[in-house]
């Protein structure tokens, strides 16, 4: 384990990871009550990836996400209340209740949205990178995909284009070991970093349980892309604490697997122990952050549960630029 970098905002990092965890764990409880419509895919366990990456990003940088996007949304600066309202399908949600968990977005923060077609959003990040290069800006575009997306052709086409056009695109493969019920170890031939290398794209293995590792390696990647050196690839191995979707009986997992992951591969627990040991934070300060985040998540979820649904007139708005009569 490397030393804690001086430049790392220890409290900010811990706070954001804790906020993501609290939100997802409390959503897990809320969903079990049956008041959340549709399908939700929780990010708990993977927080170090979103947080270690997004701490390097500006609002003007672009993030293209997946169906498992709550963490990306919050880490990119999205509003927790708007997130909760959207997941409940309520008025005031970040997409006006038209998107739901699988489409949460905050375009004002460069969070271009959850996209629930596996692999579909990868070329959009390439387009964002193209626009940065076209306008002579030093923005970067980050594409998140899972191990499932890593087998989609859209990803390979995107890597090829990003490389031949030398675009500032950072491909992040969040490998939680499962595409729905199917094991990545079975479904993915070869090695992800080697696949990227096949396109001439430099790639690195990242320990997604160690936010310092994510933060350090991704920081180098952002600098690389901002300097006009083209795309990079990150294979971030992360645990997943809940099922593919909420309600998933998870019968495909090994007995005791999740318990072991929570005990040994929890990015929050590891980071907490490390910053305390290094004397970079006081236990009391971290406990205060814990309470603050738990309160913020609880308030957002409670408010969303009680909020009104969107007005029915909104059914027909925003189909096209001028409201289309249907």
């Amino acid at each position: 384990m490397s030393a804690l970098p001086d430049g790392l905002d220890v409290h900010g990092t811990y706070r954001m990871m804790r906020l993501l965890r609290e939100f997802e764990d409390q959503m897990h409880v809320a969903i079990a009550r049956g008041t959340v419509p549709g399908f939700t895919h929780l990010y708990a366990g993977e927080e170090a990836s979103a947080v270690g990456i997004c701490m390097h990003l500006r609002d003007t940088d672009v993030l293209c996400s997946t169906h498992r996007a709550h963490g990306h949304f919050l880490a990119k600066g999205g509003d927790i209340k708007a997130l909760a309202l959207e997941i409940f399908g309520k008025q005031g949600g970040c997409c006006g209740g038209k998107g739901g968990s699988m489409h949460v977005a905050d375009w004002s923060r460069g969070m271009w949205g959850a996209n629930a077609i596996i692999g579909a959003s990868v070329p959009h990040a390439v387009g964002a990178g193209f626009a940065f290069q076209y306008r002579g800006e030093d923005g970067v575009a980050v594409s998140f995909g899972g191990d499932g997306a890593s087998n989609q052709g859209a990803g390979f086409e995107s890597m090829n284009l990003a490389k031949i056009l030398n675009l500032p695109v950072l491909f992040v493969l969040e490998d939680n070991g499962y595409a729905e019920t199917t094991a990545a170890s079975w479904a993915c031939a070869g090695n992800p970093v080697a696949r990227a290398a096949g396109f001439g794209i430099p790639g690195v293995e990242v320990d997604g349980t160690d936010v310092v590792d994510v933060w350090t390696k991704f920081g180098a990647g952002v600098a690389h892309a901002r300097a006009g050196k083209g795309p990079m690839f990150f294979h971030v191995r992360v645990p997943i604490f809940h099922g593919h979707y909420e309600g998933d009986p998870e019968t495909y997992r090994a007995p005791g697997e999740v318990k072991a992951l929570r005990e040994n591969a929890d990015c929050l627990g590891k980071f907490r122990a490390r910053v305390l040991a290094a004397g970079r934070a006081e236990a009391g300060a971290l406990e205060a952050i814990d309470a603050e985040c738990a309160g913020a998540a609880a308030a957002a979820i409670a408010k969303a549960a009680d909020a009104p649904f969107p007005p029915l007139e909104s059914l027909k708005t925003h189909v096209l630029s001028r409201s289309q009569e249907v």
């Binding site: 293209c64 006006g96 626009a131 859209a154 630029s321």
Partner: protein, 335 residues
């Protein structure tokens, strides 16, 4: 104003919009041609030569050749549009949407709505369609109804050079994703085309002939087939109203329904395969709005529901001909 081909008219629209708006760029397979190759640059200007010459004025940054990678570069165009650029992406043949349809179906058409009005995807996607060139089953289809079926995109289908320039200019300036369909036969069609830029509003049909006996609604290249039929019918004393909707989305239903009410008879001419075609849609529109005005059943003129054949004899038999339209109109008149 001078006589130009539609190929020149489309090229003029692209060049004018690129001069006018630095956000506009064009992208596609071989739209210049010769990228990275040792020989001529701008070797093709697209397979039909439509974009030939734009490279010289605008350079490789704005005339972007791509690998054969439709999902990748259509998705790239969508992302660039989300980021505020104005991409004009060419999918060489409409048939090739088979390899990138997800980007149309689940992405460009959905963003504005599913992200609650916060996203805009002002992309124009040009593509060629249509039979008659011996290109067989995978390069000849007329798939525009599939796109009209999907909420969240606009669909333009010009039948002549003048409309092609005006509609394409409108498409590029539009805030929404637009699918722009160019029939292979369109490119060499000549017509009066102003040198300056102009726009044609979407959702306004053109009424090309006015007659009381039958209303004929035709789409894209079929407008020209129907016009030939109109000439033949006129020689026999039968006068039709000929309507070119020009855009499928939005569709000028007012003009269509008014013409049907005036004529009491309707023929729809559509190169698309008949099931769930535009012909079906127009027939449905009349059946659900003003069936009482019909003096005879609606007649649909489509190809048969088969893949496009190769042999010239078979392809000729596949495509609706002016004689088919003449027969259809006479059928509505009981002749």
């Amino acid at each position: 104003m001078s006589i130009k081909t539609a190929r020149e008219a489309i090229r003029e629209a692209l060049a004018a919009e690129m001069r006018r708006d630095p956000r506009v760029f064009i992208m596609g397979e071989d739209i210049a041609g010769g990228m990275g190759a040792p020989g001529e640059q701008d070797a093709w200007g697209g397979v039909f030569g439509v974009t030939k010459g734009l490279l010289g004025e605008f350079g490789r940054q704005r005339v972007v050749d791509t690998p054969i990678s439709e999902t990748g570069f259509l998705g790239l165009g969508i992302g660039a549009a989300n980021a505020g650029l104005r991409p004009v992406v060419e999918i060489m043949f409409v048939d090739f949407f088979g390899v990138c349809f997800d980007q149309v179906l689940n992405n460009m058409s959905k963003f504005r709505y599913m992200y609650g009005g916060k996203a805009a995807t002002p992309i124009t996607v040009r593509t060629t369609y249509g039979a008659g060139y011996g290109a067989a089953a995978q390069h000849s289809q007329a798939l525009y109804p599939i796109f009209a079926h999907i909420p969240g995109i606009k669909v333009a289908l010009p039948s002549n050079a003048y409309d092609a320039k005006g509609l394409l200019t409108t498409a590029i300036r539009d805030e929404d994703p637009v699918l722009f369909f160019e029939h292979k036969s369109l490119y060499d069609l000549q017509g009066e085309v102003p040198d300056e830029s102009y726009t044609l509003p979407f959702g306004e049909a053109a009424v090309l002939r006015e007659g009381k006996d039958c209303c004929v609604v035709a789409f894209g290249h079929m407008v020209n087939i129907a016009a030939k039929a109109a000439d033949q019918l006129a020689e026999q004393g039968i006068h039709i109203t000929l309507i070119d909707p020009r855009t499928l989305v939005p569709l000028d239903t007012d003009t269509l329904l008014e013409a049907v009410e005036n004529c009491g008879r309707l023929v729809v001419v559509d190169e698309a395969s008949p099931v769930c075609s535009m012909a079906s849609e127009i027939a449905s529109l009349v059946a659900t709005n003003c069936p009482q005005v019909l003096k005879a059943p609606v007649v649909k003129v489509n190809p048969p529901p088969v893949p496009v054949p190769f042999s010239p004899a078979l392809e000729q038999a596949y495509l609706p001909q002016p004689e088919d339209v003449v027969k259809a109109v006479k059928k509505t008149l009981g002749r």
